[in-house]
């Protein structure tokens, strides 16, 4: 029997949802195990880091790496799996663009520790104890991995062959990718986004678009939308226009706005900037308004979005052009 190619999956700074998305391919997981030697996946299997360290370099065919790089340990595992894998795939929004963990880039490591361990109404910490990288105890020195000042995407840390976006990637898309490898389909050029489309969620969305301008934005709880019409044109911030196709417009299909989990489409560097460009085109500033009236009216419309960075970069802040806030 010829040796089966190795498959591994790792979670760095992640939630576990990406593993669930993999097993959501249901009975097809048996085919995966039939065709691959599934050698490492801390969520599902018992193999350990030392087992991977013992492998020759490049001996894992494919590694699906989910999770962002928040800590020194995340970076260590990214480097180890890079070394041991032929094809390293950034799997899911966290490793592609930073996702929810990446939102913390608006604050420094110190801000985090201050809020979590010191200045928090539900925390009593009279000794002012915060995690230290090294702590002396009678038995010796204890080490904790560094909590970096910023969250990074996988490709900001190591070389990456492919990118599978989504929070989490859709199971049918995951299966398509695995199946094409099983069937020996020629892989796309290095650096490609796979398991997704190239255009936008709007292209997959069946809602009626009418080129309408809006007078205000609504948060989802403030409006019952017309289910046939484009949500954005009703004033609901739907990120579909700045988000890569691939999910089949799952959220708009059930009348929830797209929040952007597939990241930026082809040709777009920055999802938030793209969204700003799009929204700028749909504001109703018509009628002969004076400069002051235009400013006033624009402010009024804009005041209804409470958190711009959190709305426009919910999934892509660490991978955005600015990446993190200015550290003072």
């Amino acid at each position: 029997m010829t040796k089966k190619p190795g498959l591994s999956m790792y979670w760095a700074s992640s939630c576990g949802g990406c593993e669930i998305a993999l097993v959501n391919i249901n009975e097809k997981i048996l085919e995966v195990i039939d065709k691959f030697d599934f050698m490492f996946c801390p969520c599902l299997l018992d193999t350990k880091k030392k087992d991977i360290e013992a492998l020759p370099d490049k001996s894992i065919e494919i590694t699906l790496f989910n999770g962002a790089v928040r800590t020194e340990e995340n970076a260590e595992m990214a480097n180890l799996l890079r070394k041991k894998s032929k094809i390293l795939i950034a799997f899911g929004s966290c490793s592609n663009d930073g996702c929810i963990p990446g939102l913390s880039n608006l604050y420094s490591a110190k801000d985090h520790f201050d809020t979590i361990y010191l200045n928090n109404p539900t925390v009593s910490n009279p000794g002012g104890i915060v995690p230290q990288r090294e702590t002396e105890v009678p038995e010796g020195t204890l080490h904790l991995p560094e909590f970096y000042d910023t969250v990074r995407t996988l490709s900001q840390v190591v070389d990456v062959e492919y990118f599978i976006p989504g929070c989490p990637p859709e199971s049918n898309q995951i299966w398509d990718v695995i199946n094409s490898v099983i069937e020996g389909v020629k892989l796309p050029p290095k650096g490609s986004v796979i398991g997704a489309g190239t255009s936008t969620v709007c292209d997959e969305c069946e809602k009626i678009k009418e080129d309408k301008k809006i007078d205000r934005f609504y948060r989802t709880y403030e409006i019952i939308p017309d289910t046939k019409k484009c949500l954005l044109e009703q004033g609901i911030i739907c990120m579909g226009i700045a988000t890569r196709a691939g999910c089949g417009s799952l959220c708009p299909k059930v009348n929830m706005p797209c929040s952007g989990c597939y990241g930026a489409p082809d040709g777009v560097l920055d999802q938030g900037a793209k969204m700003i460009a799009a929204l700028g085109s749909i504001l109703n500033l018509e009628g002969d308004l004076t400069e002051e009236e235009i400013t006033g009216h624009t402010n009024k419309i804009m005041d209804s979005i409470p958190d711009y960075a959190g709305t426009f970069y919910k999934f892509s802040l660490a991978g955005s052009i600015l990446k993190n806030s200015v550290r003072k």
Partner: protein, 143 residues
Amino acid sequence: MNTKRNENEFEPKILGFLCNWCSYAAADKAGTMQKPYPANVHFIRVMCSGRVDPQFVLKAYEEGADGVIILACHPGDCHYKEGNLKAVGRHNMLLRLLKQFGIEEERCRFDYVSASEGGKFVSVITDMVGTVKELGPLCLNGK
């Protein structure tokens, strides 16, 4: 007249997006009027302020600009009807976003300057350079 530059003074790098039909012509006018203004702003001519993709602005900061200024036609004067209105909305959103990233709003300015307003052009540019000078350099990503 050239004033001698103080060696130690911070000289900000500012990127200016000028609309071909208004502020770019105003810059020309300021030139023929021989009105001096600080040389810190590098101008990029665009066909309309509505062409200024917010990505250009973020990219400018990433590449080391300390400030960005966008100058547009007055309301009603835009050659493409509402390019300047799109620019106002985008600028307004950018300001709110930049604030969350700790970037002062004075580093991103929008104004209307018509082709005949050479004087306004000079005062807006001079004011922008002065304000950014006072703010100091923009230090992004540990740079």
